[in-house]
């Protein structure tokens, strides 16, 4: 149920491979025995355990994208951050207590150590006394032994002389008896000699007696001295014994205090480590949030970009229109100037002619006043007047026209000047827009760099933070499916297994139909037989997985292999892609037949990955299908394959 045994690997139960949690194993063993081997009960207990129900995701993980950046600053994310802060605060507030406890334990330990040292000091001095007493006793003992020996020697010497005297005495008596039998001078002489010898020995006996007595006295004295020393020694031992006991007690107290001290120090260290981890997670989270904010800003800025660009275009267009108008104006002006030129020429000519005529007339008038007959002159004057009038009549409208044109020109000039100003305005407006756009672009760039950097940091911290999160939030560790599990899971998920089972069953039923009133046990046995048959038929496929993904069929191996030949098999080997194809009632087919792509995605997600589809999956898959509706069957076939080939299908939890 956990993908890993308490004893791992399972088939290696020996003393060199102990259970990872022996206490738990013992509890489970005992409860299994107690329940009279009720397997379903133990399974239930396991399933209801906190450990079994642990999630596989760390709280933060649900909210981040591939780079480890928070997707949105959701309320949930903020709550998680608050929780982190809280955990951090709790851990930090526990630090002084832990440190105090640690210090207190240290004081206790120091006191215990001091007490121990004090007792040890006393003990050492008593031990020294003991040594002296022991030496004294040994000395006395030696003296006593010597005295005993001396006494023994003196006593022996005395006894030897006494024995000699007794023998001589006996001899003298025998001689007396012999003499009584018949007086013999020789015997008499012997008696006298013997008596003389006895007399001679007498002082010796007295001396030996005295020596023996003296030795006995010396012996008794040394015995007394020895006993005195013994008493002395004993008294020292009596004093030492309680001290030794005290020392042992102090030693125990010190050991206990040391253990307590070390434990509390370890607790404090653990706490510091926890704080460090929490802080790292918090830092990563904040960075991730910053990156998310930067991302949002970036998106906003990028959104504003088109409108800015549009305004620039509008301003530019305005400017261009004005410039065009200006050009038109200038063309008209040129046209007008062009019109004015010949007219001005003609006007000049007319004015010149008029001036000539006026001059001629005044000469004629002068001449007419001088001559009597002014008649012909008058006629000429009249002629001149007439032609002057003609000229005048031509000149007046021309002049008017010219004036008009000049006015026009001046007006146009004025307009041109105005336009110039306007264009300059438009130009500066364009420039302003351009600057705004550039600034915007630059800030996008800066933000982009910043956000990339943050995202990069998040990504690099990701693995480490995951580790920390697993410890802080206690989630289940990840594991890859074994090759066999992987193979059977694919066969089951694609309905290949169930179709094999039903084929097997159909074959069995055809060959040996079950009576309609057959007991359920027989039906069940038939089903079991079908499952076995299907498994036998599909085993070859599983062997392929064993060979490609592990050490081979029947070989125990815990090693995880990920190599391109496996991927090539899944991609191009035909089997996996073939199994994923729409067929009968399998998930691929159900997804294709579902009119709503979103619920089809939900179906695949729940059916193959045992989880709800994510919002983004519910979005992009239907989008892909909407773009190319005829490809819907193909897309679902490929999607199912993609899920089977994906990391989530292989690695759990």
């Amino acid at each position: 149920m956990f993908g890993r045994g308490l004893v791992h690997p399972l088939d290696m139960r020996h003393f060199d491979n102990p259970a990872s949690n022996p206490e738990l194993l013992k509890i489970l063993t005992d409860s299994l025995v107690e329940s009279k081997f009720d397997v379903s009960l133990i399974l239930k207990q396991i399933a209801l355990s906190d450990t079994y129900r642990r999630g596989r995701r760390t709280p933060l993980e649900t909210q981040v994208d591939v780079r480890g950046v928070l997707q949105v600053q959701s309320a949930e994310a903020i709550a998680w951050r608050a929780q982190l802060t809280e955990k951090l605060a709790v851990a930090k507030s526990a630090i002084p207590a832990a440190e105090n406890a640690w210090k207190e334990k240290q004081t206790t330990f120091d006191a215990a150590a001091d007490a121990w040292r004090e007792i040890q000091k006393t003990r050492i001095s008593i031990r020294a006394e003991l040594d002296v007493a022991e030496a004294g006793f040994n000395d006395a003992n030696k003296k006593f032994i010597d005295a005993v020996a001396a006494f023994d020697k003196a006593s022996a010497a005395h006894q030897a002389i006494a024995k000699k005297t007794a023998l001589l005495d006996e001899a003298a008596q025998k001689l007396e008896q012999a003499k009584a039998l018949g007086d013999d001078p020789e015997i008499q002489a012997s008696i006298v000699a013997t008596r003389a010898k006895i007399e001679a020995l007498k002082p010796q006996i007295t001396a030996a007696e005295l020596a023996a007595t003296t030795a006995a006295t010396a012996r008794d004295a040394s015995l007394a001295a020895k006993e005195a020393k013994r008493v002395e020694w004993k008294s020292v031992v009596d004093r030492l014994t309680p001290v030794e006991e005290q020392l042992q007690q102090a030693d125990r107290a010190m050991t206990l205090a040391r253990a307590g001290f070390q434990e509390s120090r370890q607790l404090a260290a653990n706490l510091s480590q926890r704080i460090e981890r929490l802080e790292r997670v918090a830092i990563w989270f904040d960075r991730s949030a910053d990156a998310a904010v930067a991302g949002t800003q970036l998106a906003q800025l990028s959104q504003q970009m088109p409108s800015l660009q549009e305004s620039l275009v509008v301003a530019n267009n305005e400017k261009i229109a004005m410039e065009q108008a200006m050009l038109g104006l200038e063309a008209t002006m040129a046209e007008t100037s062009k019109q004015i030129e010949p007219m001005a020429g003609k006007w000049k000519e007319l004015v010149a002619q008029k001036d000539q005529l006026v001059a001629a007339k005044s000469q004629l008038t002068v001449a007419a006043a001088l001559v009597a007959d002014a008649g012909p002159l008058q006629g000429a004057i009249a002629q001149i007047d007439a032609s002057l009038a003609t000229r005048q009549s031509e000149l007046v409208p021309l002049e008017a026209l010219l004036k008009q044109l000049q006015v026009n020109l001046a007006e146009m000039q004025k307009k041109v000047e105005e336009n110039k100003l306007l264009i300059a305005n438009a130009q500066s407006k364009v420039q302003a827009q351009q600057t705004a756009l550039d600034t915007h672009r630059a800030s996008i760039q800066t933000l982009q760099t910043q956000s990339d950097k943050l995202a990069q940091e998040c990504a690099t911290q990701r693995l480490e933070v995951d580790q920390h999160c697993q410890e802080i939030f206690a989630i289940a560790p990840e594991r890859a499916l074994s090759p066999e599990q992987f193979g059977w899971s694919i066969l089951t998920a694609t309905n290949i297994m169930s179709s094999y089972i039903s084929n097997e069953k159909a074959e069995l039923d055809k060959n040996a139909p079950l009576a309609s009133d057959a007991p359920p046990a027989e039906h069940y046995a038939r089903l079991l037989q079908s499952v076995r048959g299907a498994r036998d038929k599909l085993q070859g496929n599983i062997d392929t997985f064993s060979n490609l993904y592990s050490s081979g069929v029947g070989q125990t191996s815990d090693d995880f292999f990920a190599s391109p030949d496996q991927a090539l098999f899944v991609a191009n080997g035909g089997s996996v892609y073939g199994w994923a194809a729409p067929n009968g009632n399998n998930l691929t087919n159900l997804a294709i037949q579902n009119p709503d792509p979103r619920s089809a995605v939900e179906l695949l997600s729940r059916g193959l990955l045992a989880r709800a589809a994510s919002p983004s999956e519910l979005e992009w898959v239907p989008e892909l299908i909407a773009k190319n509706p005829e490809a819907k069957p193909a897309v679902f076939h490929e999607l199912v394959w993609g899920i089977l080939a994906g990391v989530e299908f292989r690695i759990y939890p």
Partner: protein, 431 residues
Amino acid sequence: MSNRARYACGSIDHALSRRRFLGASGLLGASGLLGGVASLPSKVAGAIPKNDYRIVVFNMHGGLSQLESWDPKPSTNTGGPFRAIATSVPGIHISELLPKTAKQMHRLCLLRGVNTAEDDHGKGAYMMLTGRRQTPAAEYPQVGSVAAKMLHDDQTGLPGHIIITPGGGGGRGNEAAYLGPKFNSIHLGGDKPPQNSSKPDAIAQEAEDRRHLLRRKINEQYLSQRRSAITDAYTHSYEQALKLMERREVFDVSKEPQAAQDKYGNSELGRQCLVARRLLENGVSFVQITHSNYDTHNDNFNFHIEQVGEFDLAYATFIEDLAERGMLEKTLVVVLSEFGRTPNINLYYGRDHWSKAWSVAMAGAKVVPGAAFGQTNKEGTEVIDGQVDHGDIFHTILRGVGVDSSQSLIVDGRELPIADPAAEPIWKVLV
């Protein structure tokens, strides 16, 4: 093949593929995990500077007879029927079964004093490829995985560790041990490209692109929540597979001119060599070629005429080809077995397993050319000079391609020497 002598010792090793065999000895290996070598995930400290050296190993599966190859003892009780011939290096003689190789002698370096003291196929192979004795306490990476780790550049789009075996397939052994799954080998069956390395015709290019896009999108969902060495290795393997499909033509010998194909000889070994050369040219760091099966307990001499003849042509052409292309300077070619064969000729004209005094041949890279190091006695029963073992050879191979074999990798906080610290490179054969 059918008219070949039945010669092998019939041990289970020949029935299983070599790698499956290593897997079987992996029963011990599994308990090796208890020793604390975590199989996953491996974090190897520090970036190791890559160089462009490469390694090729000719694995003479079953145990090549040193007496019928590198260390002949003609006219002795143990020498067998073949003569020794002069080579391009005056004074060095090799078996007359290697006439073409004799002409390449000035490029080779023979180690004639190999003593590995292990007469078991599986254990011998393990020792020669890992440089260590097999122990239940730990698993060690094979030379191919070490080469892939130390030398290979991922940018080539090709795997760094390729093993070519006649059958291909078989289960995998954890050759990379603590180096991590990325450095395990890719198996090629003979001269064929990796299995499944071409897109099935039934899948249109559009569908192909789309299904991988879908796979990546699905992965993204999971990876946004959880990433680890396992998940990275798993997703990486699919991208590696796609790159490998792109470079499939590298494995295709038929892309070579007919003349080149002819030159290597019409044998599977010849084609393996040609594939190996193409792989080396395209940046693969390690290729192991397998020539099987030398386990000649019966009829040793007829068999060696046949098999060594095939080897002679392919190997000599390979060495010459690499030299002519200027690749030999950067490529170390090692010919090794799990052990040699007994000087004593048995009742069935065979030779048995013998690890006390046998030979290994090297060529190229930083190995001294035109040399014979070490010596066996007159009848080849004992090493009398220049004795080396598997550990020394492993060090020498790494040094031969410019890798400091005394360095350690930090794996999960443990310092692991890449080669056995008790052994040393054979400095006398290194330039």
